[in-house]
């Protein structure tokens, strides 16, 4: 197995684990954990193709990862702020309880 194939396999499994966390967890913060895992899987792909692909003097892969990390940090900050605000009203981070718009 080549290093590129190993990294792509790793990122595929990591992405699936993140998806599993998003679909099975009920705590909103732990769903964010799953989203972070999925974002990291995508970042591993960028670095893998930059490192083991054709030579790239423009550093496209690392640049993508750099901006992706910045966006992910912003997403985590806003997501957690929203979750904290919801917690102040409902006293819970369980998404099953947030059904006040349920018809």
């Amino acid at each position: 197995m080549t290093p590129l194939a190993t990294l792509l396999t790793l990122s595929s499994v990591l992405f699936s684990l993140g998806l599993l966390a998003v679909l099975t967890r009920r705590n909103a913060i732990l769903i964010l954990v799953g989203i972070e895992l999925m974002l990291n899987a995508a970042n591993i792909n960028f670095i893998a193709f930059w490192r083991y692909g054709p030579p790239d003097p423009d550093l496209t892969g690392p640049m993508f990862v750099l901006f992706s990390i910045a966006i992910a940090a912003a997403e985590a900050a806003v997501g957690l702020a929203i979750i904290l605000m919801v917690f102040r009203h409902t006293r819970s981070t369980d998404l099953n309880r947030l059904d006040s718009l349920h018809g």
């Binding site: 290093p3 966390a21 990291n40 970042n43 670095i47 550093l59 900050a77 806003v78 957690l80 702020a81």
Partner: protein, 178 residues
């Protein structure tokens, strides 16, 4: 190749723990471990700058932010989480296994070639700086504006929006007592 073969199973084990652990604080700490191992992976394959950024931003900020959020919120009932696990796990697996299958099939069909060069491509800090502030300058400015907006928005959210009393629960009657 050897560090890759050592780190990959460790990353997957830590990620599996983060997904599986019923206690939220354990899951968050395992996420921090996963992110730290991914940073080590970047360092091992020659992406030094990205590895350090991953350490500082993800392990130093995002993971700690998640742990602190768990500490100031009340985690759910673990026994209830475990009792509901079989049904939610079935649903999750029904959705996840096809995704993983598609990813693996495309990976096998693409058949990634053997890398031409064994050395890591050169990526010095000077190159990063030049690319960031010449070719990608508009993106840097946009990300700066975005992060400022996020800072202000998160501070406003955390303080509480005007007009809604933070001490009053929702009227649905399903909120837990404080």
């Amino acid at each position: 190749m050897l560090p890759l073969l050592i780190l990959s199973p460790l990353i997957l084990l830590a990620a599996l723990g983060a997904v599986w652990k019923a206690r939220p604080v354990h899951a968050a700490l395992l996420l921090a471990l996963t992110l730290a191992l991914i940073a080590l992976l970047y360092l091992a394959i020659g992406a030094y700058f990205i590895g350090l950024v991953q350490f500082m931003v993800y392990v130093g900020a995002v993971a700690i932010l998640i742990v602190f959020s768990l500490l100031i919120t009340r985690p759910g009932d673990e026994a209830e989480e475990i009792s509901r696990r079989p049904s939610s796990l079935l649903t999750g697996l029904i959705c996840t296994v096809p995704v993983l299958a598609v990813l693996f099939i495309s990976l096998i069909r693409a058949n990634p070639p053997e890398p031409a060069a064994s050395d890591a491509p050169s990526a010095t800090l000077q190159q990063f700086g030049e690319k960031l502030f010449t070719t990608h300058a508009p993106v840097v400015i946009t990300v700066g504006v975005l992060l400022t907006a996020v800072l202000i928005g998160a501070a406003l959210f955390a303080r509480g929006v005007q007009g809604i009393s933070s001490s009053e629960p929702f009227e649905s009657g399903k909120s837990l007592p404080p």
